[in-house]
Amino acid sequence: MNALTSFPQGQEPETLVSTAAVTVTQVPHRARLSLRARGDLAPLDRALGFALPRGIGGVTLGTACLGPDEWIILTDDAAAVMTACAEVSLPHSLVDVSGREITFEIEGPRASELLTLGCPRDIDAIPDGTARRTVFDGVTVTLWRDTAERFRIDVWNSFAPHVAHLLASGARELAAEMA
């Protein structure tokens, strides 16, 4: 399978909105691979060079477990990951989805509150350093909580403007609330 290694656009972070409450930035593309497998994962662990997180929500070295048999791998070298996994005899699926979605980083004192505008999950209950698939304003997203005040959401390209619009108006609403 041929892998995409560079993108012509989105190389510079682009700030969508910045208020006292929260700053929303579109961050550069990274290679992204969807991995599916089940059973004894040891062969995949060996090929990847690290143990895949086993619990849903767990994140190890940029790889998040999103389901009982599903991981998303963020990497700078998609080709190397593919080559390594190609040798693994454990049945699995590895699909390049690097071009499928873009990422917004949401950072600030009200970042968590901003997410409540569109996400029905209990944001406060999400531990730092975890990720999960959820919805934001009706759109499927992957939500990463990096720190108490910094999140990332991955959203499919065509849904991104809709999500960005609400993030931007929400950032202004929250800032007005602080004034």
Partner: protein, 999 residues
């Protein structure tokens, strides 16, 4: 402001606020509502009733108000009808108007309905507007429409913004009266997230109306201030102006917070209202009780109001609703209202109680205040034109109503007892139990994690409410693992009380002429309810619909129980046997804005755009929505309409080369050792032996054997397939596949990944497509020998890793280039530039539809309707004859699916060369009597194509056996004859698909 009492109330006298009512300037204070400010100047008349246009004033002081509905305007576009004057807080510059009046509030022409009230009885519309039949559309219906409705709909776009948020908490307490406050105290300080909400501008509930109570040694208002400060310090989130409107499954509560309607200046970026969706582990409902009116002739005259509300207007707003009030009651609570008003200087004319005996302490206090008392009396009438001026009362002895006596007054304070507010509890599907002693329904079991406390379950008095609030909250806390005793409270100057419940009060006059209102807003009287029963209504649900009792915007907050008592009496049954109508969300009228939230304007709904969409926009594309996507429909040049543009695009594509954005096609990557087996089981076509680097068209059916979706499927590797679906079917197909995989075939080692948005897909079609593309694909020879029709390959295209397909949905030489989505536009522009030498033409979905129809290629959902099998569609070739199984195989064997005479897809050519209408019905004999037997319909029809005449596809019974026959299409003004032909209109030999063979 002669009715304002100094030193009373909680309004801020240092902040006068000017607003207008029907154009007249009125001054109130910060903290006033429109109702309290108007009452402060002695004005009770605030509107006209719905049916009889009777003058009306506020009957309540809160959100249950049925009468005092006004229009409010805060600025351009910021108009709202039916605002409750008792809830609208004052703000500078607020404009308010009365409703349902013409030409003026004080003189109304529609009030003639009142004089003709005998005509407007229950079921009036059903009976009156039946004949003559042809009058309905032209006379009755327009008249009813013009007369119906309260207030006036806004005509301008609302410039306000609306918001929504989700919230999670451990304990949500609805209602910040004594029970709710005690519940919050019980839950606070335990490390739990506790939220306390109240619909009013400030927390306190009953305490705001009962400042005399002394709680644990502190005056009520001091205790309230200290408690609120303590709760805030303990981290309790206190939300005022927030109405819990609905209680949904799994402890989800909808709440609307009103953020700016009370502000003089609205800060930028601040929403008017916010819808909260709260998921609470435990809910405490402490919504209190609503006072019931007494039902007697003239009980709707302005100045007749609930005694408890009069007490609220006095104690919370410092407003005396009348200087010479008379109290008419069947409950102890109204006695205290009389005492409070007397204490504020009112000359209480009398306390009239329907009961023969009342508590000695009440009698003693009345005597001490020199208030005349009349026990065992009924009320039989009121008088006064725009304001009550007297109450007629009569002594009742057994069943005998004595002579009437007029009591002069300027207000009537009535109380028929109290009804627990069970609305949200009922939303939980909570069971209600009838309590004979209290003559009301009380809460019983609920499936939700919810308790109900205080007056909401029939308890009375501040101490009882406080103690129950603590106890019920503790019960909820036990479920959260908190074990602690419920806090105790002791209250002096409390006002416990009891009362009796009545149907309409007895009268010495003709009950048939009494205008004794049960539902004020919908003008339903006791007489109407009894008439409904006489005319055969037995269930309260039927009585409600026949009379409209409880169907107004107040949802029967005042009328339901009185209506039930009267209906039950008329039926001679107990109330529970007659039943209670269902409470439904929202609890109070809610703006559309609050429901819409952020979803308006450009954010109304997701609009998905491809990476190439911006190019299309720059090049003048006209769009059409396809599912959530917007797709370029055609690219008009200057002066072109759709037909002209599409005709040009079709011709250019067949003549040389067209370029088309196919990125919206659904794409699913199927990977794993069992990938081939899985695809083979899902699709009707055989896939096990499809070679790597080959594509095959696939038909997807449901279990029933009917076509659900289609697409081209390429084998990228032994264990990897790239499946395409229709644009609209992408999510549905993936769900269906996952469903089979997870529930039917969990043994298969195969996984599905949506790659719809991973790829931008650019289609090139036309005799010059290969010539255009070849220079960009140096690693692959685009010839019939090395890359024949239905091939696929992973190659570099213009230096970008791509999946290249040789497929055609036009009948021309065709390629689809898939490149990683972000590179789509760059490749499109590269091909566009290079294509100029071939007069490349960008085409949209309309041309795509025409070109495919000329080849007889179906569009699922247009040429199929969920009842079409592959054989019906003339695609039996796509069904693998030797396959062991596939989804739909057994369905297709059902007798009616193999029977002859099924509707089959065929082509149609009209005899007169006209274009048929899509959806037009088809008959065999145009001269048969009506109703004719319809044998099918037109599914696709175009006249912009390259055939030289209009073409159509149609589903016709036994169509494939009718080749050459003439069928008929009856239209409104003529019948069109058409010949049944093959569905393939262009190049039936497929010679144009071959590279080198075409022109």
């Amino acid at each position: 402001m002669s009715y304002r009492i100094p030193e009373r109330g909680r309004v801020d006298r240092s902040q006068p606020i000017r607003f207008t009512f029907d154009g007249r300037e009125v001054t109130g204070f910060r903290g006033d509502t429109v109702a309290s400010a108007l009452l402060a100047e002695g004005n009770h008349l605030m509107g006209r009733s719905f049916k009889y246009h009777r003058p009306r004033g506020p009957v309540a002081a809160g959100s249950e108000e049925p009468n005092a509905l006004i229009g409010t305007r805060r600025g351009k576009g910021q108009f709202e009808p039916n605002t409750r004057a008792t809830m609208q807080e004052l703000r500078h510059g607020l404009q308010t108007t009365s409703q349902n009046k013409y030409p003026s509030l004080k003189f109304d022409v529609g009030a003639v309905n009142d004089a003709a009230y005998m005509l407007f009885s229950a079921g009036f519309y059903y009976k009156t507007f039946m004949w003559p039949k042809n009058f309905w559309h032209k006379v009755y219906e327009p008249f009813i429409r013009a007369a119906a409705g309260l207030g006036v709909s806004p005509t301008e776009e609302d410039p306000d913004i609306y918001a929504s948020r989700n919230m999670h908490c451990d304990v949500l307490i609805v209602g910040a009266g004594p029970a709710g406050l005690a519940a919050a105290r019980q839950a606070a300080g335990k490390g739990l997230k506790v939220v306390l909400v109240d619909e009013h501008a400030e927390a306190g509930g009953t305490l705001l109306s009962e400042p005399q109570a002394v709680i644990d040694g502190a005056p009520a208002w001091d205790w309230l201030a200290a408690t609120l400060a303590d709760l805030k310090a303990a981290g309790v989130k206190i939300m005022t102006r927030t109405t819990a409107i609905g209680y949904y499954h799994e402890n989800l509560i909808g709440m609307v917070e009103r953020l700016t309607d009370h502000l003089d200046e609205v800060p930028a970026d601040t929403p008017r209202e916010r819808m909260w969706r709260v998921r609470a582990k435990q809910v405490v409902l402490a919504q209190g009780a609503l006072e019931k009116p007494l039902v007697f002739h003239g009980n709707d005259r302005p100045g007749v109001m609930l005694a408890g509300s009069a007490q609220t207007f006095l104690n919370r707003f410092g407003v005396l609703v009348g200087k010479r009030p008379v109290v008419m009651t069947s409950h102890d609570s109204a006695w205290y209202a009389a005492f409070d008003l007397a204490g504020a200087g009112a000359q209480v004319q009398a306390i009239v109680d329907t009961r023969g005996e009342v508590r000695d302490d009440l009698l003693a206090q009345a005597k001490a205040l020199n208030i005349p008392v009349k026990l065992g009396h009924t009320a039989t009438a009121t008088s006064g034109r725009l304001r009550v001026s007297s109450l007629r009362v009569n002594k009742v002895t057994g069943a005998t109503v004595g002579a009437g006596e007029e009591i002069k007054c300027d207000a009537v304070l009535m109380s028929g007892g109290w009804t627990p507010s069970l609305h949200l509890f009922s939303h939980t599907k909570g069971k209600l139990a009838w309590d004979d002693d209290l003559t009301t329904f009380l809460p019983s079991d609920t499936p939700e994690d919810c308790v109900i406390a205080g007056a909401g379950r029939g308890l009375w008095g501040v101490e009882a409410a406080l103690r129950d609030g603590a106890a019920q909250a503790q019960a909820a806390l036990e479920a959260l693992g908190q074990t602690e005793a419920a806090q105790g409270y002791s209250v002096t100057e409390d006002r416990p009380g009891t009362g009796v419940t009545h149907k309409e009060l007895p009268t010495d006059r003709s009950p048939g002429k009494a205008k004794a209102f049960v539902d004020y807003q919908n003008d339903v009287t006791a007489k109407d309810l009894r008439l409904a029963v006489r005319e055969g209504m037995r269930s309260i649900e039927h009585v409600k619909r026949y009379t409209t009792n409880g169907m107004a915007t107040d949802q029967g907050k005042m009328s339901n129980i009185n209506g039930l008592n009267i209906a039950a009496d008329a039926l001679g049954k107990k109330q529970p046997q007659v039943g209670l109508t269902t409470f439904r969300p929202p609890y109070t009228p809610t703006t559309f804005g609050a429901f819409a939230g952020y979803h308006r304007g450009s954010h109304f709904e997701v609009t998905r755009k491809t990476q190439i969409d911006a190019w299309a926009e720059e090049n003048g594309a006209v769009y059409e929505p396809v599912g959530q996507w917007r797709r370029a429909r055609y690219f008009p040049k200057a002066g072109e309409d759709m037909d002209t543009a599409v005709t040009r695009e079709c011709a250019a594509t067949r003549a040389s080369v067209g370029i088309f954005d196919a990125s919206t096609l659904g794409k699913i990557e199927v990977v794993g050792p069992d990938a081939a087996e899985f695809v083979n089981r899902m699709y009707t076509n055989p896939f096990l032996k499809l070679g790597v680097g080959k594509c095959r068209y696939g038909l997807l059916c449901g279990d029933d054997g009917f076509i659900r979706d289609d697409g081209v499927i390429g084998r990228i590797a032994e264990d990897r397939f790239h499946v395409t679906t229709t644009t609209g079917g992408a999510a549905r197909v993936l769900n269906m596949m996952e469903d089979y995989l997870q529930t039917e075939w969990p043994d298969l080692d195969v996984w599905l990944t949506s790659v719809t948005e991973q790829w931008s897909t650019i289609a090139l079609n036309g005799p010059n497509a290969a010539k255009l593309l070849q220079p960009f694909v140096p690693d692959l020879e685009l010839t019939e020998e090395t890359f024949p029709h239905m091939s696929c390959a992973e190659v570099n295209v213009a230096g970008t890793p791509a999946r290249l397909w040789r497929v055609s949905f036009t009948g021309e030489i065709g390629f689809e280039v898939n490149v990683p989505a972000p590179l789509g536009r760059q490749l499109w522009e590269t091909l566009w530039q290079a294509g100029q030498q071939y007069d490349i033409c960008a085409y949209g979905t309309e041309t795509m539809h025409v070109l495919r129809a000329e080849k007889g290629y179906i569009i699922v959902g247009q040429d199929t309707d969920g009842t079409v099998t592959p054989f019906d569609a003339g695609m039996g070739w796509a069904v693998g004859k030797k396959k062991a199984d596939f989804v739909g195989m057994r369905g297709m064997a059902r007798p009616d699916l193999v029977a002859s005479g099924r509707r089959q897809l065929v082509g149609l050519l009209t005899e007169d060369g006209s274009k048929l209408e899509e959806g037009a019905q088809i008959v065999l004999d145009p001269n048969q009597p009506i109703p004719m037997k319809m044998v099918g319909f037109v599914t696709s029809s175009y006249d912009q194509g390259t055939v030289g005449r209009p073409i159509a596809l149609a589903l016709i019974e036994g169509g494939q056996d009718r080749m050459g026959e003439t069928v008929h299409v009856p239209m409104p003004h003529r019948t069109i004859a058409a010949k049944v032909v093959s569905a393939v209109f262009v190049d039936p030999e497929n010679s144009r698909l071959k590279i080198g063979a075409a022109a």
